[in-house]
């Protein structure tokens, strides 16, 4: 398992030893010392099935694998970084474009955010401007997510938590996510509140939210 260290609000360092791998968003490497190789990856550590899933789901953020022996600094586009530790008991669900790096010890898969999927989910994804599908990381290891502005954690336990889809980064734990539409004729004529879509979350876990509605590119 690679050791991660947060250097400042926008940079994270990964100490990689022989036999360890770190999956990273392509272009996220800022610098490195030592002998480190970067290999483009299309599957992101997922099986062939997962790979096909990624394509179908439009999760096409290119990934690469960093391996070898050395210290690599990661960051992207001036976005802030947050390290999330996974203990194996709970998995992290995160949008692919908000994922900076993750440990090779984690297994990656894809999942439709709006449970049930289908045409309705597709339409919802299009309308909210949010990715239809998210990456699910499970196992023991670290993942680093990106946010515009600082990220904050909202615990989910018992009650329902509603999050703006554009401010949503990801969540950890056994959480049910439902995309809720509250569209009235006002939205159709452009006089809506701008809060017609919400992610309603229930269950046990934590949701990570950024203090901004800017989409990460």
């Amino acid at each position: 398992m690679a050791t991660l260290e947060k250097l400042n609000s926008k940079m994270v360092a990964a100490q990689i030893n022989h036999g360890e791998q770190v999956f990273a968003r392509k272009g996220a490497m800022l610098s490195y010392t030592g002998e480190v190789n970067f290999i483009p990856s299309t599957t992101g550590g997922a099986s062939i099935g997962g790979f096909v899933g990624r394509i179908v789901a439009g999760e096409n953020v290119p990934l690469m694998i960093a391996q070898g022996q050395g210290n690599v600094l990661f960051g992207h586009g001036g976005y802030q970084v947050k390290i999330i530790q996974l203990d194996g008991a709970n998995s992290l669900t995160v949008e692919a474009d908000k994922l900076l790096i993750y440990d090779g010890s984690l297994t990656a898969g894809t999942q439709f955010l709006a449970q049930g999927g289908g045409v309705r989910a597709l339409a919802q994804g299009q309308m909210t401007g949010q990715g239809l599908c998210t990456t699910v990381l499970s196992g023991v290891g670290n993942a680093v997510v990106m946010s515009h502005g600082p990220v904050f954690e909202i615990p989910i336990g018992g009650g329902e938590v509603a999050v703006d889809p554009q401010a949503y980064i990801g969540h950890v734990g056994a959480v049910d996510v439902k995309l809720d539409m509250n569209v009235s004729w006002r939205d159709a004529v452009g006089k809506g509140s701008g809060e017609a879509f919400q992610l309603k979350m229930t269950g046990n876990g934590t949701v990570y939210v950024q203090a901004s509605e800017r989409k990460i590119k």
Partner: protein
Amino acid sequence: MTQALNAQTLPVNDNVNPYAFCVDVNGQYFVQKGKMIAYYGQIKFEALSMGGLSQLVAGHFSSPLYHQDWIVATGQGKLILGDRGFDINSFDLEDGNLTVRASSLLGFDPTLILKQSIVPGFLTLIGSGKFLASSNGAVHFVEPPVRVDPQALLGWADCPSPCHHYDHTYMASVMGMVGNMFGRGGSGEEHQLDFTGAGTVLMQSSEDVNDTGILREMQAQIPVLGVAGLQQVQMTVNQRLAQEQAHQ
């Protein structure tokens, strides 16, 4: 609620907050155009082309390519500088040399001498004095040997100029080639700047390359080319344009 600042309570040659810096101007001070956000006192701003400044410019600003981006603040007062919400830091140079990204250099004392770096888009400061530089996020210092993504490079001090490093494994791998064919190359993983020797490298979180400096230096090379060379450049540019348009 913090106390409102005025000419007396503003810090002297210090950060107002991480994103704004107050310079105590007493005499002359070089400022990058468009970075002044406020000032107190009797300060006038003049383009480097102004007649009265020719001696100062001749001795301390040796880079005609960047003349149009810089002004000189003259007089007495407090000058507040800011840059795209980036963190601003003041650096002290003592009989040294430091090279910094041209777009990140906000201002410098006229005790320093500015020259254009060999690396396109960078400027070198020589001598003793203070200068201000902005960075996307806090500045991170590393020691060579290190390889840095060109976009994450803020500058370097004392060490020799970097050389290019190309990752052969990355470029040779099949997907890397496919990536390059589809114009997805150039993300930094196949190309880094390699620093060796003793010194310090300054890094920032990556920024989008919107360096007009690189463009200007390319344009400055154009007169050297003959007709055959110009035609080749035109072909390359047309090909890139076609690629870009196909992706939109």
